[in-house]
Symmetry: C2
Subunit: 221 residues, 2 copies
Amino acid sequence: MAPTPDLPVIPFPSSVSGGAGSTAELPVLGGEPRERADAARNRRRILSATEALVARDGAACVSMDRIAVAAGVGKGTLFRRFGDRAGLLRSLLNDRESAFQDELIRGAPPLGPGAPARERIVAFGPAYLLQLEDFADLITEIERSLGTSSQLASPVYQLYRTHLVVLLREVGPSVDPDLHADMLLAPLAAGVVGHQRTVLGLPVERIAAAWSTLAARLVDG
Amino acid sequence: MAPTPDLPVIPFPSSVSGGAGSTAELPVLGGEPRERADAARNRRRILSATEALVARDGAACVSMDRIAVAAGVGKGTLFRRFGDRAGLLRSLLNDRESAFQDELIRGAPPLGPGAPARERIVAFGPAYLLQLEDFADLITEIERSLGTSSQLASPVYQLYRTHLVVLLREVGPSVDPDLHADMLLAPLAAGVVGHQRTVLGLPVERIAAAWSTLAARLVDG
DNA sequence: GCGTTAAGTGGACTATGGTCCGATTCTGGG
DNA sequence: CCCAGAATCGGACCATAGTCCACTTAACGC
């Protein structure tokens, strides 16, 4: 980590794609080089092995070596495909994540467009927390293995951040969208929420309520 | 991390104690077993080696092995003394940290007692950020190597948290002190602030102002 | 079919934090 | 001064994430 980080290149968009055994995975688009058959096969193997191990032992206990062995591939293949541990784990919840992001952008009010910015902001936290609940284990582990700085730079974080920045801009000049977006997002980190739920024993509804209060008061000035 | 964490026992309170060459380190108190001479000598060696390496290469690049070699002790000694990497790094800023904590508890208003709770809360963020600035590198690294969950459980975090919880209780029933304390603390994490400063290029004054706005609006409800 | 080529592969290798335990050294008492 | 016991030491050892590159193999034009 001392020398240049140099994010590894991920040649294919590791889509998780349910598992319905259709042989034709992707329609051939434009100039994109097709994924080789053995690569696709290995990707499927890796994903299902990872899924099984995570389900059995919990995300925190699953090492890359164990996944490689279980999937019957070399360790190098894991990293070539998914970049790093966080990437591999994330590909397990791509579907769910995209669905939530769609809700934000195209869904019904108060989360989606149609509601005033204030309402959309206030609704964001609870919705995010709800989504977090199902995959808390996995998301906590992803955040842990990424570390704060890479986490904040990740496309996923940026998407949520941009969403809030845009909405905050609409509520007027009394907020600092760039900073307040981060400040509203920070307490939603899986590690923080996990601590509140597990150690302090607080129910997710109460966390959601407290977050909404904070957000509402910020935007109501 | 999978099996029981089992925090290692740290037999002596690794006090950093400036370096004024007084031979009598600690007055012999009560029934406490005295620290052995070789142990004290090694502790001093380790701390100054760590300090030098951190100053030269930055906290992120300093590995435990390198410190052990530079200090002329075995790696085991490092861990016995300081528990883990985070503990060793933290002992480098014990003095500064205690000074700030004193300010909170016994200092002048608006940070210390004497000012109304609202003012003390609003003043907390900017003061913390100021303190963070001097040791951003070190604190970022401590947080990174601890991981969110251990970070939230650490005595240092708990102290700040309790401080805010107490003050939030005073502002009335419209806040949820246990949760809002965490929510105000989360955006002050060194990783978050570092990202805002480095990547987004925002000045610390603006971050402080945004935090104070958020806090003020929360308590003014 | 067949050769060319680039994508893909796997496992040895490195760096790192952290653990363990036999060997060593300090300390207090005789 | 010397001894016994306990605190301390140190470096071999482990698991882990991530890198590297010589070798393999699928794809595609002929």
